[in-house]
């Protein structure tokens, strides 16, 4: 079964490598980070002049968000691939193959999660702004990678098609702001607690919780979401 799952991973890699457009996909977070590196200081100067608010004082938070971004983006791509497979009726047949339905999900989501973890580690230096320690970067990239199953399964479990997937992504885009919640006071801050993105920011910046506690809670929320959404996805495919 492990060999079959690896063949599935290899097939996904080939699918991406064969298409010049899809081959750009792994680099999108780096392009975004490069653009922010140029644009954020300019925006900061404008906002400072107009309002007195200094964006660059929150550069560490921007670094957390950009470290989380590959997970969000690759999760979206993986989610649309799952939707494609479900629309084409392919998903239902995986259960009858040696890989099995779980192997199919693990291979597809695992590949994108590993890619998101590697990109999360590498994208910070491309941004070049803000500073979070090595342990914080590792933990944030890991929680960022855990967004892949979260986003992908959310799309595949609740969207009937690609257009519905887009409307779900629009609602999920609010999660981009979850890290900002660490600057809010209780009880509003608690709105961020169910989401790993919030705990990633706590882990990296240690504002309201010790990093170890933030990591444990981040992992727990990620696992819980993945289990719930995977069960929902299976029911949908069945």
């Amino acid at each position: 079964m492990r060999g079959n799952a690896m063949r599935l991973v290899a097939a996904d890699v080939r699918m991406v490598a064969r298409d010049p457009l899809l081959m750009l996909m792994p680099f999108v977070p780096f392009l975004a980070a490069g653009a922010l590196r140029f644009f954020l200081p300019l925006l900061s100067a404008f906002v400072d002049k107009a309002t007195g608010f200094r964006i660059m004082e929150y550069a560490d938070l921007a670094r957390v968000v950009i470290t989380l971004f590959p997970g969000m983006f690759y999760g979206m791509v993986a989610g649309f691939l799952l939707l494609d497979d479900r629309d084409d009726g392919v998903s239902a047949y995986w259960g009858a193959t040696p890989v099995g339905r779980s192997g199919y999900l693990a291979a597809r989501l695992g590949l994108f999660s590993v890619a998101a973890f590697a990109a999360g580690l590498a994208v910070g230096p491309v941004l070049g702004l803000g500073r979070i320690g090595a342990a914080g970067t590792l933990g944030t990239a890991a929680l960022g990678a855990a967004q892949v199953p979260f986003i992908a399964l959310f799309l595949a479990a609740f969207a009937a098609n690609k257009v519905e997937g887009l409307s779900i992504l629009k609602a999920l885009s609010g999660l981009d702001m979850a890290p900002i919640a660490i600057y809010l006071s209780l009880p509003i801050r608690a709105v961020g607690w169910p989401f790993p993105q919030y705990w990633a920011a706590e882990l990296a910046l240690g504002r309201n919780a010790p990093p170890v506690v933030a990591l444990v809670l981040g992992v727990m929320t990620s696992v819980l979401w993945t289990v719930i959404l995977a069960a929902r996805y299976r029911r949908r495919v069945d």
Binding site: L21, A160, V163, A171
Partner: protein
């Protein structure tokens, strides 16, 4: 062609696809954030927020709709009707622009009460949404699958975003950048969005509206038309 039927069925589709709920979620979130900001901060952010949703989201929405139509084979059926593809896409964008307007108005009210002008806001949603949607649909017809569209449309998306770069950082950028940004499809919409919250000279708004109309017509004829023809030939 019965335009009212087309509008009604498209509104029903938007509802079924959950867009009204998605907009409600995002509107509540934005309103909570904007109302927590000091007034001058909110004033700087509101035009961008009101402009970006129709300009960007209509682009992706139209693209995703076309990808779905292509996958389900319904796009081909359109050719058997008197409906023109540009009208089909414009109606989709207009309906989504109504949702975007409702969201922008609710978020504006959360920060400024009744102290904003709804008509320029509504015009901004349409002027931003329609040309962006035509561009998004054209690219989706060429790129065919949703993931290829999401990645392949990035340069066009960045092109659409130039006015906001000019808005935020124009004084630090060379003059030629401003000239290019002013010639992009959604620039007029940003001028209209600004007019909802501050005084903008009327001629500037008229030029903005005219530019959006010209862009919509030009994109329909020069970009969408050939893309439809190519998709039809496949």
């Amino acid at each position: 062609m019965n335009l009212a039927v087309l509008v009604r069925s498209d509104v029903r589709l938007l509802w079924r696809h959950g867009f009204a709920i998605a907009y409600l979620v995002v509107a509540i979130l934005y309103a909570a954030i904007i109302s927590a900001l000091p007034r001058e901060w909110a004033d700087a952010v509101l035009p961008v927020l009101a402009w970006s949703d129709p300009a960007f989201f209509c682009f992706f929405f139209a693209g995703a709709s076309v990808c779905l139509d292509l996958a389900q084979g319904t796009f081909g059926a359109l050719f058997a009707t008197p409906l023109r593809p540009a009208v089909y896409i414009a109606v989709k964008a207009a309906n989504l622009s109504v949702l975007a307007f409702a969201m922008a108005a609710a978020v504006s009210a959360s920060s400024r009460g009744a102290d904003f002008r709804p008509w320029p806001l509504a015009a901004s949603c349409l002027a931003g949404g329609i040309p962006s949607a035509i561009l998004g649909a054209s690219l989706a017809l060429r790129l065919k699958s949703i993931n290829r569209f999401l990645i392949g449309s990035m340069p066009a998306f960045l092109f659409l975003a130039l006015p906001v770069v000019q808005y935020a950082a124009g004084r630090w950028l060379p003059p030629w950048f401003g000239m290019i940004a002013a010639m992009t499809p959604a620039d007029g919409a940003l001028r209209l969005a600004r007019a909802a919250y501050q005084a903008v000279p009327v001629p500037e708004l008229a030029v903005g509206l005219a530019a959006a109309a010209v862009w919509s017509a030009a994109l329909s004829i020069l970009v969408l038309g050939p893309a439809v023809a190519a998709a039809r030939a496949d």
